[in-house]
C-alpha cells in the first residue's frame, strides 16, 4: 500500500484543525480543533513507525506520549474556559482580549 495518501490525509486533517482554531469563536470548539490537529500528528507517527520498521517502536511510543499530553492540555484548557465563563459570562474568544496588545 502506498504511503503518500496517508500522509496527505494527515496534512488535510492538520489544515482543517488550523482552520477550526482560527475561524471559530467558541473556546470549546477551538479546543476540539486542537485535538484534531494532534490526531493528525499521531497518524503520521504510527505510519512512519510501520514504514521504517522501527524495532524500538519509537513512533508508537511517541503517539502514546502525544495522547497523554493532549489529555493534560485539554484538562487545563477546559478549567481555564470554565473559569473565564464564571468571571465574564462568555466563552467567546473575541471578547477575551484583556491581554491583547
Amino acid at each position: 500500500m502506498p504511503v503518500a495518501p496517508v500522509l496527505v490525509l494527515s496534512s488535510f486533517l492538520f489544515s482543517v484543525g488550523i482552520y477550526g482554531v482560527l475561524a471559530r469563536r467558541n473556546a470549546v470548539l477551538v479546543l476540539m480543533s486542537i485535538e484534531v490537529m494532534l490526531n493528525a500528528v499521531n497518524i503520521n507517527l504510527v505510519v512512519f513507525n510501520l514504514l521504517l520498521r522501527s524495532i524500538s517502536y519509537i513512533g508508537q511510543v511517541f503517539a502514546l506520549f502525544v495522547i497523554t499530553i493532549a489529555a493534560a492540555e485539554l484538562g487545563v484548557g477546559l478549567a481555564i474556559v470554565i473559569l473565564i465563563f464564571r468571571n465574564r459570562a462568555t466563552v467567546s474568544i473575541d471578547e477575551v482580549n484583556l491581554m491583547k496588545w
Binding site: P2, L9, V16, A23, R24, N26, V36, F85
Partner: protein, 161 residues
C-alpha cells in the same frame, strides 16, 4: 484490501472533520469530533498499532469527548452561525488552504514511490518492553506532567472561598 478499508475510513474522517469546523450546532460538533477520533482509531488498527488504537478509544472517545460535552453544557453557549464563527473566517480559510497545499505537495513528492509492507501485527508485550526499558525515563516524566496538569486543573476550576 487494506487500500479499500483506508479509502472508506479516510472518506469518513474527511467528512466528519469538515463538518466539525462548519457545523452550527455545538453538540453536533462534539459528535463529528467523535467520528474523526473513531476513524483515526480504525486507521491505527489498520497500521498494526493495536495498543495505540485501544488507548485512543479509551482516552479520546471515552474521556476527552465526555469532558468536552461537560464543558459545552457548563458554558451553555449560544447556537447559531454568527455566534460560532469569528470575523476572520476568510483569512483562516486562506491560511488553512495554504498549509494544506504546501505540506501535501512536500509529502507527496518526498514519499511518492514508497510503500508500506504489512507484516504480522506488533504485540502489546513488545511495545510494553520498549516503554519500560528504553523509554522509561520519558514515560515517568510524562506521568509527572499529567499529575501536575491534574492538580492545576483542580486549582483553576475550584471556587475561591
Amino acid at each position: 484490501m487494506q487500500q479499500v478499508v483506508f479509502g472508506i475510513v479516510a472518506a469518513l474522517i474527511v467528512f466528519a472533520a469538515v463538518r466539525l469546523v462548519t457545523t452550527r450546532n455545538l453538540v453536533h460538533g462534539a459528535l463529528y469530533l467523535l467520528g474523526v477520533l473513531a476513524g483515526v482509531a480504525i486507521l491505527f488498527l489498520l497500521f498494526l498499532a493495536e495498543f495505540v488504537a485501544w488507548v485512543q478509544v479509551l482516552v479520546y472517545i471515552g474521556a476527552v469527548v465526555v469532558l468536552l460535552l461537560f464543558g459545552l453544557m457548563l458554558t451553555r453557549a449560544p447556537i447559531g452561525h454568527m455566534a460560532l464563527d469569528s470575523q476572520t473566517r476568510p483569512l483562516a480559510a486562506v491560511v488553512a488552504l495554504a498549509t494544506f497545499g504546501i505540506t501535501s505537495t512536500i509529502v507527496w513528492k518526498a514519499f511518492k514511490g514508497q510503500t508500506i509492507h504489512f507484516s504480522k501485527p506488533d504485540t502489546v508485550n513488545t511495545l510494553g518492553e520498549a516503554i519500560f526499558s528504553r523509554y522509561v525515563l520519558p514515560f515517568e516524566i510524562v506521568s509527572v506532567v499529567l499529575l501536575a496538569a491534574l492538580v492545576g486543573a483542580v486549582v483553576l476550576a475550584r471556587k475561591e472561598e
